[in-house]
Symmetry: C3
Subunit: 210 residues, 3 copies
């Protein structure tokens, strides 16, 4: 299942930009509000055509949380948008506006957002990480060769894996708009596996919104 | 418009620290709660002087989302706090407590929080990024000169731009306290443009709170 | 106080994974919902044994925010999970599902998630940061020795500290499940102090959930 990206113009429509309004009329500030009275708590949208029949109950805040296990992947960067979206699509569709939070439960892999098209970008990123976080030696004109790591018990790839994990991070927050992840045309979610031995990786996904 | 920073002492006041209470009295735990009954659901604040007349409706969870387009900026790091705050100030002022989420819809630029005063810090950061993610060659005493990238179709600055984007990230979450972004005295929001050719950049801003 | 980690299996139970259901029966989609009517707004949990008597009020969205001051720490990476959990434990216990957001109010230190067991991992990470962001000179086979920084007024460790802060970031968001931070077995929260002179560091903690 491919993530369907949406244009940012409709995303902007959730409330109108003040500067594009005629200065003589008061700025129409439309935003998602939850109120005690569902009848009056509907989404006020500046582009009413896109939401002809807003459901008042849609403005009730809701939470969903799920732990997803990703299958073992070889060392390197992997596009996982389709897998993630497939896991949460049904719940995602119920959110008009919100945030999707991903949290990787590991310290030797990472989550990042990057290019979703050319796999060379993922390969080059892996090349970069291996150059910048060497497994054995730092070498410099000033200092010559120096041993890199104290923590070597779990193999030469382990300590670099920990560092790469902090460089890219283990957590992402992505906006939800009109039932979909609101990402750019070329953006995708990557899981970067930094260990040599593939292992299943768990991601806690938390959805919050209205 | 300059972001008005607030002291962290009043930020702490949202609920009282348990350890500063006399041990003989029960700890007063004050926090933001939403309840079904607006009359009893007001913010209970340990520092009542700062909120003499709390509006019960202020405790209703609310969401606001907007896509902001930043004008083209030259390659390098740019302070965008005033621009961001100007775009959301009116909505921000209605949140007593919450989170502001920024999501850059691109893979060759990044968002980060760093020093807001001396522009040399931004220049030095750009210098660092260019040193650490070279456009053409990795050179080392061990390996000599080696070609850097497979992904070169979009120019020599493109692949390094992708890597820098994952290093700093495309997403930020900032606390909201008393209607303002709750950042440190020296903190600012930076947009780092990693491409040579300036291009407009879009940021989805999501506000959530009470 | 040690953070008690929970198994991801019970975390998943907040709503059931669609694929593990028999195809003949409709998928039971259970999630945390807030409704206007507390009687019908209780948590519907696929694992009813873990929540025999759900409190309907627990499904009311709530917010808590607090500024924590960490004592001065020497330059390097430090495990602060116990300190953070101690500060928020009482409030955390009231959240069935949610997110904990940490925001460091400084630009020369950072927050990251990494290994919580072997202190060598923290030492090696500090070694890496110092190699990759030198205080005085960049040295390369191609360019020879070149002065590093323009921003030197606050000492040679200041500009590298700013860069390290953006590399690891100053903000973390961690899922809350059943009253606890839902992190992996080996994950811990690190404060990385990048300045030579220890100084107190403030973290704004925002809890949001049901």
């Amino acid at each position: 299942m491919q993530l369907q990206l949406r244009s940012s113009s409709s995303a902007s429509a959730l409330f109108s930009a003040v500067q594009v309004k005629p200065p003589s009329s008061p700025p129409v500030r439309v935003k998602a509000l939850f109120t005690k009275n569902p009848g009056s708590g509907t989404l006020k949208n500046s582009n009413s055509n896109t939401n002809p029949n807003p459901n008042p109950m849609a403005s009730n805040p809701r939470w969903a949380q799920k732990t997803v296990t990703l299958p073992p992947l070889r060392r390197g960067c992997h596009l996982i948008t389709p897998k993630i979206v497939k896991e949460i699509a049904q719940d995602l569709s119920e959110f008009k506006c919100g945030l999707a939070h991903l949290f990787l439960l590991h310290t030797s892999a990472s989550l990042t957002i990057n290019e979703n098209y050319d796999s060379d970008v993922r390969d080059d990123t892996e090349t970069f990480l291996n150059k910048i976080v060497p497994e054995l030696y730092f070498v410099s004109l000033l200092q010559g060769r120096s041993a890199s790591w104290k923590h070597t018990l779990e193999g030469p790839d382990d300590m670099p894996a920990h560092i790469k994990s902090s460089m890219f991070g283990c957590t992402l927050t992505i906006p939800i708009t009109d039932g979909q992840l609101n990402m750019g045309t070329w953006q995708g979610i990557w899981l970067c596996e930094h260990r040599d031995a593939p292992t299943p990786r768990k991601v806690v996904i938390t959805l919050n919104g209205i």
